[in-house]
């Protein structure tokens, strides 16, 4: 299970990389393993749109499940990964790299305090593996 130490995480298995005031969002290795082969990605957030923390920004579908992806922090969407919908399987192979979903200009940095660090996320995953 790959859980990069420098990222922030949510209970719903999203990750966010924070660089300056820009956050990059995706779903974690745990999530892609649970979903198995991902066949479809729809990014519903649009560039320029402002979303709140917890708003749905994308939907990810595999053969056996569908999941909504929620914003770990709110702000203005500055980039959307246009290449991902054509190659949804990238989420399975490179969830933290080329399979990022959106980039957001973080509105309220205090919202980052609500996120989990890598250690807390590792615990969260372990608790669910039962």
């Amino acid at each position: 299970m790959n859980i990069p130490p420098e990222l922030k995480y949510t209970q719903n298995d999203e990750w966010m990389r924070v660089e300056g005031n820009i956050g990059t969002v995706g779903i974690t290795d745990f999530a892609q393993e649970q979903l198995s082969d991902i066949v479809f990605v729809e990014i519903i957030a649009a560039e320029g749109e402002t979303l709140k923390q917890g708003d749905s920004c994308a939907t990810v579908e595999s053969v056996k499940a569908a999941a909504d992806v929620y914003m770990p922090a709110g702000g203005k969407i500055v980039a959307v990964n246009d290449e991902l919908p054509d190659k949804p399987e990238l989420i399975n192979t490179d969830p933290y790299g080329v399979a990022w979903l959106v980039k957001v200009e973080i509105g309220e940095t205090s919202e980052l305090n609500k996120l989990l660090d890598a250690a807390a996320y590792i615990e969260h995953c372990a608790a669910r593996q039962g």
Binding site: F40, E42, I44, E61, S62, V63, K64, A65, A66, D68
Partner: protein, 450 residues
């Protein structure tokens, strides 16, 4: 008892294995106060006895085959080729379940794939699902789908008043307590008007416009201009069809429909006092993930054989649960098969032939009746096999007269539309001979004189 095979010896052996004395011991969790009630039902009948009882009940009815039927309004008396029921009665089809295990369900899956293809072709659309319950709920699902598509930001749905009243009622039931706003059939638009009358109701809060083809009054309109206007306003167009009419008429896909729904009963499904019927639902490829209902897709198995499987199941209720577009689980399975076999038997030539028979016979009837004193056609628009007829007396009286002469008259439009007390909706199919139509004309003439 009836269909349980257990002998006393079986039962005793099984109880011993389980480790209880009696079957009643297995129900200990059931609250004692209410356990094992005496049901006040008649005692069991044998197969011979129930068949006699059913026959008596059946004989107490006068059917559309014994009477001369001119009643339509959403269900039609068409001929069903013998081969359709022969296939439907195969136990491998009708006693199978939903094809969740594709390796042993290719019969059902391939048949549904064929159905999807035939209906897509018939309606001029790109994808078709494995059916909804009926024509009415299919429209309700279209409303649901377009509402989801616009993420609730476009709450208005325009319903033409010329859509079947029961379909509109169903949509109202489904959308009660939601933020969907239904307009168009509450007096804002004159039912006698043509589709252009809907245009003033379009705006940027409109998600869907629903029209019928042929409409409830039997009229056939080209909705190309309406489709353009709807798209310009940013909304979607849903056309509810009689699929048999599409054997002759231009399909809605060709004039810009985004969703085509329909009632598939005319395609090899008996009248059966209202059900089970078949809800058709087809749309464009770009909306396929928003569409509710089952979908069969093509793939291969691990032996390299082409095969079929339920696909995009992640949209459905058993996976998305409260996030599914719809709660639909069961489809109309066997009715899908009936329509598929019917369309396959009739094929390109047969469907055109039966559509033309309906068309020509209806036009013969209209011509002859319109020449009677006291009767006139309510509309001059083109029609397929159904038309609205102005009569000299209230329709219930006319129909009583007709029934005395062994004729089932048309639908009394006054039930749903004010000011239509003396207007009847008359349907003619290939099951009506020229003699039947002439008989109708003779009785109608008498009604006018009486």
């Amino acid at each position: 008892m009836m269909y349980t095979p257990h002998t006393d010896a079986d039962r005793e052996a099984m109880l011993r294995t389980i480790g209880v004395k009696n079957i009643a011991d297995l129900f200990q969790d059931v609250p004692a106060a209410h356990r094992f009630p005496e049901l006040a039902l008649p005692s069991a009948m044998t197969e011979m006895e129930i068949l006699a009882e059913l026959q008596a009940l059946a004989w107490a009815n006068d059917t559309a085959r014994e009477l001369i039927c001119f009643l339509g309004a959403g269900a039609y008396n068409h001929y069903i080729p013998a081969a359709v029921d022969a296939i439907l009665r195969r136990g491998e089809f009708y006693t199978a379940y939903t094809p969740y295990q594709p390796e042993i369900s290719q019969g059902t899956l391939q048949a549904i794939f064929e159905y999807q293809s035939l209906i897509a072709g018939l309606t001029g659309m790109e994808v078709c699902n494995a059916s909804h319950y009926d024509g009415a709920t299919a429209v309700a699902e279209a409303v649901n789908m377009s509402h989801h598509h616009f993420r609730g930001k476009r709450p208005k749905v325009v319903l033409s008043p010329a859509v079947h009243p029961q379909y509109r009622d169903t949509v109202r039931t489904y959308t009660q307590d939601s933020d969907v706003v239904l307009v168009g059939d509450q007096g804002e638009v004159d039912p006698t008007a043509n589709p252009q009358a809907l245009l003033p109701l379009l705006d940027d809060t409109t998600s869907l416009v629903v029209v019928q083809y042929p409409d409830f009054f039997g009229r056939v309109f080209d909705y190309t201009d309406l489709a353009k206007a709807v798209h310009q306003a940013g909304g979607l167009l849903c056309v509810a069809v009689n699929p048999l009419a599409l054997g002759l008429l231009k399909p809605p896909g060709e004039f810009g429909a985004d969703i085509v729904t329909g009632e598939g009963q005319p395609l090899g499904i008996p009248l059966s006092y209202g059900g089970p019927y078949l809800g058709l639902f087809a749309t464009r490829q770009e909306y396929v993930r928003r569409m509710a209902g089952r979908l069969v897709g093509e793939t291969v198995d691990n032996r390299g054989q082409r095969a079929y499987v339920l696909t995009l199941t992640a949209r459905e209720q058993h996976i998305r649960r409260e996030r599914a577009t719809s709660n639909i689980c069961t489809n109309q399975g066997l009715m899908v098969l009936a329509a598929t076999v019917y369309l396959s038997l009739l094929g390109k030539h047969g469907l055109r032939q039966v559509a033309e028979l309906c068309y020509h016979k209806a036009h013969y009837a209209a011509l002859r009746i319109a020449s009677l004193r006291g009767y006139s056609l309510w509309s001059n628009e083109p029609f397929f096999n159904e038309f609205a007829l102005r009569c000299p007396r209230p329709i219930d009286e006319v129909n009583d007269f007709l029934l005395d002469q062994g004729i089932l008259g048309g639908y009394a439009l006054g039930r749903d539309y004010p000011d239509f007390e003396k207007v009847m909706l008359l349907a003619v199919t290939e099951m009506n001979s020229k003699e039947d139509i002439d008989a109708l004309v003779d009785v109608l003439r008498e009604v006018s004189h009486a």
